[in-house]
Symmetry: C2
Subunit: 273 residues, 2 copies
């Protein structure tokens, strides 16, 4: 028995989210991944993700784990699965993990990016990749709001209505803005965990603050009132990326996973005369 | 009568290229653009592009011109058309032009980018956006080949077989590599004009040189022999971007077009609870 930790990149635009659903409900990342790994391992494989991502949400570093009786190495799994997986998802790293490693329960924290496009005009090359909010937002005011997110809070104000979780208390360790180029502003949040739609609800309230509809100083009260209906719109999934899942226990590296090096397949086949 | 110069961005993945075709042949950039502009101008509009782009090829700065009897301003045209155009194409700039300005005949030069993904693993977020060649190419050798492209040459060696043009002589003014991030290597070519598939054929031979299948020093002879069958594969359209079209005459700015500033429409509508 081997337990593998795999790291995934995907473009969420054509997926009905992470979680496997009935066949009629649409194509999911977990669904196509389990299909590919089951073929590679020659038995039915069940994959555990670090958490669900919704329809349209992307990942640069989703992590999943699975147990297999196959003797294949991590490199063989990466290479084999990536030949079978569709072009919008790939395993970007894999490593053997202790048998008690579980992508969800072993996770120490998660990092999400949310990309805002601040171009004065709609940018088709950022279609489904960022939320176009335009150039008019007050980013200095938004920066002032970020420290209010840090620490342990009941984030019920940013939880999707109808969610059922035991507790809506989460801890945010990091809340930063950066400029990754292409006319983007990127919000990065690292937290112990995130409620359903929580990052998108935070992106939504930050856009409201940037537009001057609420002051940054109102954020603590919005959090404290714990009422989703008072805390603004949910930003679209287009700009959301699960950037990284961080594990501290079980001897697994806390740093960026080592990519499995292998030459791309079929470059000659793709070329045309 | 007003003549407008418009600058376009598009994601080529879902277009059957620039040029309008019969309805059964697929969706084209020219087709959706003429439809939108005809509605804005309230009469049938014919658009002239600086040149065709093939199916799957992107643009950051395609230029087109059209004559209209409408009294609408450039800003009104941008705003109106962008509301009607699909999400994968937009007008990013517009300006009034002299009546004798023609996007194709007035062009002094064109700039194309070709993006190679050198990541060791397939990157789904670069799907349809770059050519995945992997990490093994010798980029120093590729750099050595670039100066051989400069100047006036008969580029028949890089012309798509079956093309019919009067002359295959073109001048390349600039041939450079850069690293725009995301694990990309970018080839930038500026030239007086480009034959059909010429940039993709050059990207293809450069990849062959990078893989050690031909030496950089062989490039002058490959060009001189003017035989498409000897000059390697054509790279896929995924990595190709029409970056900019440069005009020197008619008082039109030679610099980056000024973007028409206006707030994005419908941000509130896109937000969900």
């Amino acid at each position: 028995m081997n337990n593998f930790k795999i790291t995934l990149e995907y473009d969420g635009r054509d997926f009905a989210g992470w979680q496997r659903q009935s066949e009629t409900a649409g194509r999911t990342v977990q669904g196509v991944l389990e299909e590919a790994l089951s073929r590679i391992c020659a038995h039915r494989v069940m994959v555990h993700g670090s958490g669900r991502t919704d329809a349209g949400v992307h990942a640069r570093g989703q992590v999943a784990s699975f147990v297999t009786e196959s003797a294949r190495t991590a490199a063989q799994i990466v290479q084999g699965a990536n030949c079978l997986l569709p072009p919008d998802v790939a395993i970007i790293a894999a490593e053997a993990a202790p048998l008690d490693f579980h992508a969800r329960f072993s996770a120490a924290s998660k990092v999400y990016d949310y990309d805002f496009s601040i171009s004065p005009v709609r940018k088709p090359l950022l279609n489904k990749r960022a939320w176009w909010v335009g150039p008019g937002l007050d980013w200095a005011e938004i920066e002032k709001a970020l420290p209010h997110l840090l620490g342990e809070h009941d984030f019920a104000a940013f939880q999707s209505t109808g969610s059922e979780t035991k507790s809506s208390v989460r801890t945010i360790y990091r809340a930063e803005m950066s400029e990754p180029g292409q006319g983007l502003k990127r919000l990065t949040l690292e937290g112990s965990g995130f409620l359903r739609h929580m990052v998108r609800a935070i992106a939504g309230i930050l856009a409201e603050i940037g537009r001057g509809r609420r002051p940054a100083a109102a954020l603590p009260e919005i959090i404290a009132r714990a009422d989703r209906s008072l805390s603004g719109p949910t930003a679209p999934p287009d700009g959301l990326y699960l950037a990284r899942v961080i594990y501290e226990a079980e001897g697994l590296s806390n740093s960026k996973p080592i990519e499995s090096f292998h030459a791309p397949q079929g470059n000659r086949l793709k070329a045309q005369r």
